[in-house]
């Protein structure tokens, strides 16, 4: 979390936290698998009222950013949601909203944004593929222009909240280049196959497109011209994911520090042993480093800075590894209780493990970073 939030941003953060605490979001996380979509729709509508869906939506379509910086607002919310391993389509809805607000036609904006902003409709981004390694150059899902319509063929994976989404923003390759198309999930030929995932709170599906046909006006931002939008969405996805992980580890760490003070062994709090407190100090260095690079990357993306991509890769690599290190150390310090179903630690570990692989593994991002640096 940035240390120089404006008053509006600080208020927004507090409002998010109060909403998530009052609705006992963390307490519900174990039961997410038992419900449709993993969350209660009325909870999500209440979240929309708090502002979880508003930041990328223009005011005339029912949204608005509290601070004038939509990326900052989203990062603040993402971190709070991460703290309580929240379910719900926060991530996909905001990515789709940002894409539609940025490059959608007036008709697309009017059709999609008010519903998503109100928490009534869900949209998601179908980006990853089983073999593409999150690399658009290797997309196997193809789009074809045919008689004023678009035909889509292939399979997308790891599509968050696809099981409850009305609309899918599908990234495809074509002869003309990368394109993005809005596809109603009820379209003939769309088959959504929900998967199990490490993260109990969130749902991911495999989505098959079998000769799916939609009108040409469902294309966003021009046929074959989606490269820039795609990069923007990817960077945004990554900074939200990183902020989510930062929220998780902040909470896991606080709980562990408290435990180290409360738990007595050999006649004194275990946190008084240097063997443990020194490790906790190292974890704190990692945590603060994660916060620092998360702030740096999100500010660079928000302000469209020249080094944004470099910082996003850097943050993704660093936070992916360190977030897992921190939660695993938290578990170690808790001892056996930390590995039980009733304790929250496994929820935290599941979340950062999921975040680590989504939108590219740290290994892949390190590789991309080295290419960017020319080393």
């Amino acid at each position: 979390m940035k240390l120089d939030l404006s008053n509006e941003q600080e208020l927004f953060r507090e409002t998010c936290r109060r909403f998530l605490t009052d609705s006992n979001t963390l307490g519900q996380a174990r039961h997410s698998r038992e419900t449709v979509g993993g969350y209660d729709p009325s909870w999500w509508r209440a979240g929309a009222e708090v502002g979880l869906t508003a930041m990328f939506v223009p005011e005339d379509q029912g949204g608005g950013s509290v601070s004038g910086s939509p990326v900052q607002d989203a990062v603040i919310a993402a971190e709070e949601l991460g703290r309580v391993v929240a379910p719900g389509p926060f991530h996909p809805v905001n990515i789709v909203a940002s894409a539609v607000a940025r490059s959608g036609s007036l008709a697309q904006r009017e059709q999609l944004l008010p519903g998503m902003s109100a928490g009534e409709a869900v949209g998601t981004w179908a980006f990853g593929e089983p073999r593409s390694q999150w690399n658009p150059d290797e997309f196997a899902v193809r789009g074809r222009l045919q008689n004023g319509a678009v035909t889509i063929e292939g399979t997308k994976s790891y599509v968050e909240a696809a099981d409850v989404a009305e609309v899918l923003l599908v990234a495809v390759s074509s002869r003309e280049g990368i394109s993005q198309i809005l596809v109603p999930s009820a379209s003939p030929g769309v088959r959504i196959e929900p998967q199990k995932s490490l993260d109990l709170s969130r749902r991911f599906s495999t989505v098959h497109f079998d000769n799916v046909r939609v009108p040409l006006e469902n294309v966003i931002g021009g046929w074959g011209a989606a490269d820039e939008d795609l990069q923007r969405q990817l960077q945004l996805s990554l900074v939200l994911q990183i902020a989510d992980s930062v929220g998780v580890i902040g909470h896991a760490f606080e709980r562990t520090c408290q435990y180290a003070q409360d738990r007595i062994a050999f006649g004194r709090p275990i946190g008084s042993f240097q063997a443990l407190k020194h490790r906790i100090a190292d974890m704190f260095l990692w945590l603060e480093s994660c916060r620092a690079i998360s702030d740096g990357a999100s500010a660079a993306v928000g302000d469209h800075m020249a080094d944004a991509l470099e910082l996003v890769h850097t943050a993704k690599v660093f936070v992916s590894y360190r977030a897992v290190d921190i939660v695993q150390e938290c578990i170690q310090i808790h001892g056996g209780i930390g590995l039980t179903w009733e304790h929250d630690m496994h929820l935290f570990l599941r979340r950062v493990g999921m975040n680590r692989v989504l939108y590219g593994t740290p290994e892949q991002h390190e590789r991309q970073l080295s290419e960017l640096l020319g080393v």
Binding site: K2, L3, D4, C257, A260, Q261, R268, P269, G271, S272, F273, Q274, K277, H278, I280, A281, D282, F284, L285, E288, S289, R291, A292, I293, D295, G296, E310, L311, T314, V317, F318, E366, R367, L369, S370, L373, V375
Partner: protein, 404 residues
């Protein structure tokens, strides 16, 4: 960036261009003490010698933001590199605890490079346990008489004044019987011996004090309250080592979180495997970038008041771990050429850096001390039980069988 900082950075840029030499391969060698002082005098004449020091003591009374701007702008120029201790750590300590006369006398001299200060804290018998110091100061009429020895002081051979922690009361617990003094290194009875390090160089010294007599007014702060002066000093030391505060940029641009250009130059054209080069350079780029952002975060937190207390320890621990890893990677990138070299190659220093790569993990408070500070003072974890905190120091010494 505010307009004020824009104006300032314009002022800095034009002054630097007219008054200082740009760094180049030829002039990059460490300059002599004489030249260092001359460079510092030139900075002071231009109004850049003590940016954060109040105007009444010869400084500019500006903020850490200005210091950062100056550090950024001056990184490409030849500036003094040896006054981080004097200006980054001891000047702010003197501002906080010195008497009005001490500040008016010493600070302008420090800023002009006429007076260089070092710290005299660690002793041969104790480094981490600083409050266990046994160098003693006794009052004798109009003077304090100092006896004992200090060690690990950087640059003592060329410095003028040492800020020296000495015991003035043995009958109270250890933290409450210490006082801080300004000790002129040219005083009779002071002997300075260089310490030869593992790499053969001598960066540090040991000092011996044999009935060194100094005026009463050289006491800094109050008698027996030296520990709080030492705390202030350590606070600034950690910040400076971590790259924030008064010391920012005083190491001539070799700042914490520097880039990877030197490592890239080292690796390219060398015998290392390209896959390994790529992996190591990416790793160190990530680590350096993160450390730089951590410094920025702490600086912002200090400024907005969101962070208070010993955050310098977080930065210092991060910087030390990074420096160690960096030297390790540099050594790996040279393959065997970092271990065997002829005098006309660049790899000798890589091997030497590697040999001394634990320096920052030990100097200025070990990693272990930083971890204690972080866990106890920032996170509130309980201390390890110890027997020596509440006993009169004389009794502690007796219990462990040492003389007073």
């Amino acid at each position: 960036m505010s307009t004020d900082l824009d104006v300032f950075s314009e002022e800095v840029r034009s002054w630097l261009a007219e008054n200082l030499e740009r760094k180049s391969d030829e002039n990059a060698v460490v300059s002599s003490d004489h030249e260092e002082r001359a460079l510092q005098a030139r900075l002071a004449a231009g109004g850049f010698g003590g940016l954060m020091v109040p105007v009444e003591y010869g400084g500019r009374g500006l903020t850490s933001d200005h210091q950062r701007v100056f550090a950024r702008e001056s990184a490409a120029f030849r500036t003094p590199v040896g006054f981080t201790v004097s200006l980054g750590m001891l000047a702010p300590t003197l501002i906080a605890h010195g008497s009005e006369e001490q500040k008016r006398y010493h600070l302008p001299r420090m800023i002009r490079g006429q007076e260089v200060w070092i710290q005299l804290l660690s002793e041969p018998g104790g480094g981490s346990d600083l409050a266990g110091a046994v160098t003693k100061a006794e009052r004798d009429g109009d003077s304090w008489v100092i006896n004992g020895s200090k060690i690990w002081s950087t640059g003592a051979a060329t410095a003028d004044v040492g800020m020296c922690l000495a015991r003035t009361n043995w009958d109270v617990p250890k933290h409450r019987g210490l006082s801080m003094f300004a000790l002129p290194l040219s005083a009779p009875g002071v002997t300075i011996e260089p310490i030869r390090q593992a790499d053969g160089e001598s960066e540090f010294c040991q000092e011996f004090f044999d009935d060194v007599s100094i005026p009463l007014e050289n006491l800094i702060g109050h008698e027996n309250e030296g520990w709080s002066v030492a705390q202030t000093l350590l606070f600034h030391e950690r910040n400076a080592t971590g790259g924030v505060g008064h010391g920012e940029g005083t190491e001539g641009g070799r700042a914490v979180g520097q880039g990877i250009e030197d490592l890239r130059a080292l690796a390219l054209g060398g015998p290392a495997d390209p896959t390994i080069i790529r992996r190591y350079l990416s790793e160190i780029f990530v680590a350096s970038t993160v450390q730089r952002h951590l410094g920025r975060r702490v600086a912002i937190g200090y400024k907005t008041g969101a962070l208070k207390g010993q955050w310098g320890s977080v930065l210092k621990l991060g910087a030390a771990l990074l420096a160690y890893r960096r030297a390790e990677i540099a050594f790996a990138l040279t393959v065997a050429d970092g271990a065997v070299w002829s005098d006309d190659t660049e790899n000798g220093p890589v091997g030497a850096d590697w040999l001394m790569s634990k320096t920052l993990s030990i100097a200025g408070g070990t990693n272990e001390m930083q971890r204690n500070i972080i866990s106890e003072r920032l996170l509130g974890l309980p201390r390890e039980p110890s027997f020596d905190n509440d006993l009169p120091f004389r009794e502690v010494r007796e219990r462990i069988g040492r003389s007073v």
